[in-house]
Amino acid sequence: MARHPMTGNEMSSEAESRLERHHYDVVIVGAGGAGLRAAIAAHEAGAHTAIVCKSLLGKAHTVMAEGGIAAAMGNRWPEDNWEVHFRDTMRGGKMLNNWRMAQLHAQEAPERVQELEDWGALFDRTEDGLISQRDFGGHKYARLAHVGDRTGLEMIRTLQQRAVALGIDVFMECTITDLLKAAGTDEEGPIAGAFGYWRETGRFVVFEAPSVILATGGIGKAYKVTSNSWEYTGDGHALALRAGASLINMEFVQFHPTGMVWPPSVKGLLVTESVRGDGGILKNSEGKRFMFDYIPEFFKAETADSEEEADRWYDDKKNNRRPPELLPRDEVARAINSEIKAGRGTPHGGIYLDIASRRDADFIRKRLPSMYHQFKELADVDITAEPMEIGPTCHYVMGGVEVDPDTEATSITGLYAVGECSGGMHGSNRLGGNSLSDLLVFGSRAGAAAAAYVSGLDVLPKADEHAVQAGERRAVAAFTGSGEGGENPYTIQHDLQQAMNDLVGIIRTSSELEESLSSIEALKERAKAMAVEGHRQYNPGWHLALDLRNMLLVSECIAKAALERQESRGGHTRDDFPGPDPEWGAKNLVLRLNAAGTGVDLTHQPLPVMPDDLKSYFEE
């Protein structure tokens, strides 16, 4: 076979029609931090493991993470421990987190980070030679292990190199479009594999495997202004729904307070929170440091109320409270939004993030090299000399596949979900740095759990061949479809992004949410008549047409849950219900595919109750 043994590159076009088959114990969809860590764990537990990813190995979103990995190692602050990290995480998520996930995450993150060092990661050091830890919003102590502002690159490279050293099979530029269930079972039946296509050739491929771990990342490409890449089309979310699993917390979308706003070509690109952690402040067009006007009751006790105290904090953290710029992201994003709306924005519709007047040029270049480079190269702005213009950008989805906290198993036997595509861990709002640690902690657990499940099986489930054929038919429909008069997938994507941005954005109301749902229905109709030009070999238009199916389903989940939740909490702000409501604070909204398979149904579900010993951390 002409296929390259590792990358799967198939250069011969006559192979196009042949269906390729592979057999594994565990197939992992996604090669970001979560997928790679899961693969390492599954392999180490003895499972025959494969990783499948849409891009080349090492290019997943994780590579873009900047600030750091949150883990209470106590290298800077011996007072820090898992209990404090747990408390910060729950409070950041406005208590809607799955408590057990937040607990496991805080307990296991330190060892997972130190393990990266065993595999070759080179973190920045403290004066004593330990892993350095930096300040981030919502974390009581300096807690983020980091490498300048390119922590994600260090993490993905380390995991990638480890996976390669272990000889784990990687199928790159291969997109999974359907999960396969066992033949002859109902909707609840177990997983038997996955179906997809090679992007390079358009050839179809079947992975037969009793367990599949979804690690596909987020949904940000459903929004117009986003820090996310083309890959973030909610594939894992949609695959899980269609396989019969449920999603939770979908109404909670994190808008990062600081995205670039100018030039248009980079609008939405992330400006790391470390800029604020390292001394940067937010100012409006009148030069006012406005965050002091936006300190919510919930965080008053731990936030500085004067500029003097806030500035002293950087040097003396014991005797001063944190600057309000370091409140959790949802608070800062809302504040920026209000300032802009009130007409105090910058010429390009943002506000100012200023580190130039507060730190010397050497410090800035050393601590924030990528940001320096990014602004210099893309906006002609020297951040050591002038303030940056920034505004909120869609960044992260708290919602995802509902999983068992200890094993990351979904309600479908053999199906697991980890990383950004899973839900529960972050509640209504994620703290910075808590995603990278989430990937490591739960990636490791899922890999081990999936391997254990497979080793306990006597008979392997057999994939339903009808589903394979249906997958093939669906995938080529856009070529054979209505032909002329068919819509361009790029136009549909554009219209969806605009609708989500305008109607399901950072501030929401019931009328707009209702409008968004009818827009999504109309887009679904238009998508049925999509037409794609060209052939199946590396055809981005076709790839987008296939991804759109997932984006539309996931957008519907977000809009539906956002309309239902009549309160404001974390990453969900309702103009018509401005405050949090304790009754809503005790519930999750759960989404499942409807019986016809054309949309989603929503139900309410009580939040798991935290044991009393953990509750005591929240008594003031």
């Binding site: 390259h4 590792m6 065993d118 595999w119 892993i131 890449s229 980079v266 893309l378 981005p540």
Partner: protein, 262 residues
């Protein structure tokens, strides 16, 4: 502020192809990748190009712009005259798959040939200690985003397919150097770098350094020091003598050659 940009883009696959002319509307502050995306969305939905981060962080969008290896997302249109035609072609050193997308599996194969990091045990408290100055050398190399532009540029393989099996290329010399300079690594990879990876074939022209979008000083900071260390190991009679009479120099301290059976 917008204007019509003239572009020539190579379209085709492994069976052949040619440059095709396009005119696309662009605006202030845009990069070459924006122009290509607009072409995709409005004129040519099947134009193949790789990208992910659009911020110079992932190394996906490598191609050649007016013959020069560059990242499409970090090349600003303002670098060119508005009347100039911008020509975009796929990386030349790798087999083309389609349009601007090439088969870069050569690099993934080379990555697999490299012996991985072998650390000393952790300290008694379960942590590891390294000084910032000691990790900084390796950190410079670990900034690599694997865009493979240096691999594309290096004349040893650019037009010499036959050299590929014996030559890992600058990106992997960087990796050898990184591991060799890692404060906690226990392997001695110098002989391997010289023999299996073909470090000896590099004649330090520095072309790789010139195209590196991360500004890594590949030749000065990785290749040349690595070459010096290889020479040390090979010929330096004092080192040889030292290793015989039990005086250890820092380079050999606690390291073993992965090719030697333990």
């Amino acid at each position: 502020m917008g204007y019509d940009l003239k572009m020539r883009i190579w379209r085709g696959d492994q069976s052949g192809g040619d440059l095709q002319d396009y005119t696309v509307e662009v605006s202030e502050g845009e990069v070459v990748l924006d122009a290509i995306h607009r072409l995709q969305a409005t004129q040519s939905g099947d134009l193949a190009v790789r990208w992910n981060c659009k911020a110079g962080k992932c190394g996906s969008c490598s191609a050649e712009i007016n013959g020069r290896p560059r990242l499409l997302c970090m090349t600003r249109l303002s670098d060119f005259d508005q009347t100039e035609t911008i020509t975009v072609t796929p990386m030349r050193a790798f087999p083309v798959i389609r349009d601007l997308v090439t088969d870069v599996s050569f690099n993934y194969e080379k990555a697999r040939e490299l012996p991985s990091f072998q650390p000393q045990p952790r300290d008694a408290d379960g942590k590891r200690r390294m000084m910032q100055v000691d990790v900084e050398r390796g950190q410079e190399f670990r900034k690599c985003i694997e865009c493979f532009l240096c691999q594309d540029t290096c004349h040893v393989v650019r037009d010499h397919e036959d050299n590929k099996p014996a030559f890992a290329g600058p990106r992997f010399f960087l990796r050898y150097a990184e591991l060799d300079m890692h404060p906690l690594d226990t392997h001695d990879r110098r002989a391997l770098a010289q023999d299996a990876a073909g470090l000896g074939m590099c004649n330090i022209t520095k072309c790789c350094t010139e195209v590196c979008p991360e500004g890594i000083r590949i030749t000065d900071n990785a290749i040349i020091p690595m070459k010096e260390r290889v020479v040390d190991r090979k010929f330096d009679p004092l080192v040889w003598l030292g290793s015989k009479i039990g005086v250890r120099n820092r380079d050999n301290d606690g390291r073993t050659d992965p090719r030697d059976p333990d």
